[in-house]
């Protein structure tokens, strides 16, 4: 790129040289010596004048432009008019250019200010939302304590005495609804936290075999009671750095769903994992009713519940899979489902083996 300065000097240099050259030629070829000398002196004056004029013009144009350019660089760096380089100029065009730049800068400054205010307001709103749902959750959980306590006492005949069959049935219904409500309250808060990116994840070393075995141990009493087979299929034992409690929560949601959708007596639920490059791929498979292609796209959405004609008992809050998705994605993984109706359903989720770096977390 050619600076204005150099262009001007090039043009004026060439013209000065031509004038000077013509003066010399005139002097050498002129018959009358006096005219030649006068023309030569004149040409020297004109050439020098041109050069000096160029220096003056070049300065009055390039200096303010250079300053303006500096101001622009500063502005783009800090998004703020520093007012460090005051521009003084007699050149109309540059004066106007500077005026326009300054008014544009002021507008950008105000826009940024307004934008920052909005960002702050949104952040405050997020905080208030979370505070509100925390408060609601606290207020909902508190009365659940005596409800759950008394229902459980009623279920123990050694504590509050015998109940007749109908009363027992009623108490059992209250109990299962209370447990469902309790889960819903927890799920709503978790969902809210996931939405606002406020759910904290731990990073700890987890031996996959231990994790899976503990899950099997936790669920075996439930599956045995419902006459469902719970299997473990593990290919390699690996270690991962992730959040044990959260992975447990995902498994728990998926297994509870699987139990709801298989038939007592012939139901089989299999959990397991296999290594997949940088990830460990976990799965929960059941031989239940299956999920149609249409439903497969929707099931990870909040409050989506499959409307089955098989009248399965729907015990969940409708938030379970949305929470699973939020957790797995928060852990840097992915969750998906494969299903063949009336044959089987498999939920897969893969989790990175290595801990998430701060940058990976920030881009979520």
């Amino acid at each position: 790129m050619l600076p204005i300065k150099h262009t001007l000097f090039l043009v004026s240099g060439v013209s000065s040289f031509i004038i000077f050259y013509m003066g010399i030629v005139n002097y050498l070829t002129s018959v009358e010596g006096v005219t030649g000398v006068i023309l030569l002196i004149f040409s020297v004056f004109v050439a020098t004048g041109t050069l000096l004029g160029t220096v003056y013009i070049s300065r009055s144009i390039t200096k303010p432009i250079e300053k303006l350019a500096q101001n622009m660089t500063e502005f783009s760096k800090h998004n703020k008019m520093t007012g460090k380089n005051q521009i003084k100029t007699n050149v109309k065009e540059i004066f106007e250019l500077n005026e326009n730049f300054e008014s544009m800068g002021e507008k950008v400054e105000t826009t940024i200010e307004v934008q920052n205010e909005y960002v702050q307001k949104l952040k405050d709103m997020d905080r208030k939302k979370l505070e509100f749902s925390s408060m609601v959750s606290h207020e909902l959980k508190t009365p659940l304590v005596p409800i759950l306590g008394y229902v459980q006492m009623l279920q123990k005949k050694e504590l509050l005495g015998d109940l007749n069959e109908k009363q027992t049935e009623a108490v059992n219904e209250i109990y299962s609804s209370t447990v469902k409500l309790q889960r819903l309250v927890g799920d709503i808060l978790t969902t809210q936290k996931l939405d606002l990116g406020k759910l904290d994840f731990n990073q700890e070393e987890i031996k996959v075999s231990e994790l899976l075995e503990s899950i099997i141990k936790e669920f075996t009493p439930i599956t045995e009671e419902k006459k469902i087979l719970l299997n473990l299929e593990m290919f390699e034992d690996v270690k991962i750095f992730s959040d044990r409690d959260r992975i447990n929560q995902v498994f728990s949601n998926l297994i509870k769903n699987a139990i709801d959708f298989v038939t007592s007596g012939s139901g089989v639920v299999t959990i397991g994992c296999r290594e997949d490059k940088e990830f460990v791929k976990f799965f929960v498979q059941d031989n239940g009713v299956g999920i149609s292609d249409e439903n497969q796209k929707e099931i990870f959405k909040k409050f989506y519940q499959i409307d089955t004609s098989t009248s399965r008992k729907r015990s969940g809050s409708g938030l379970g899979l949305a929470i699973c998705k939020g957790i797995i994605e928060g852990l840097g993984g992915q969750i998906w489902v494969k299903s063949e109706e009336k044959v089987q359903t498999t939920f897969f989720f893969k989790i990175p083996k290595k801990p998430l770096t701060i940058t990976a977390k920030a881009t979520e």
Partner: protein, 133 residues
Amino acid sequence: MSKSKQKEEVKSYNVLIVDDNEQITKMLTTFLELKEHKCTVANDGREGLAAIKENKYDVVLLDLAMPEFDGYAVIKDLEDNDLLKEHKIIVFTASTITQEELDELVNRGVTSYVLKPIDIDQLLAKIIETADS
């Protein structure tokens, strides 16, 4: 012989319940007394703190969110007087509290924690485990 053995198993503990919610304290008292434990109730933090300082309880169930003088204030006061580690305190809360915050309470000297609502059998197991520890 078998009778004395049974007596050993069903130890009776002295439990202090500090909670501003009367329905909760009433339910817990009913349950724990049916299980042959002795219950004392404090309906706010100040009352609870005074009770802790006056008597030695086997276990203290301490709610966190209480008006004015809350569970945190009770813990802070005990901590300032070097009394926190002398008592077996189970924080019993429905507040939205992170695992880190719970761990921090335990680090400071709270014996254990239980999140509301809880299965009463699990709560009882926790009380016995804490009292025996």
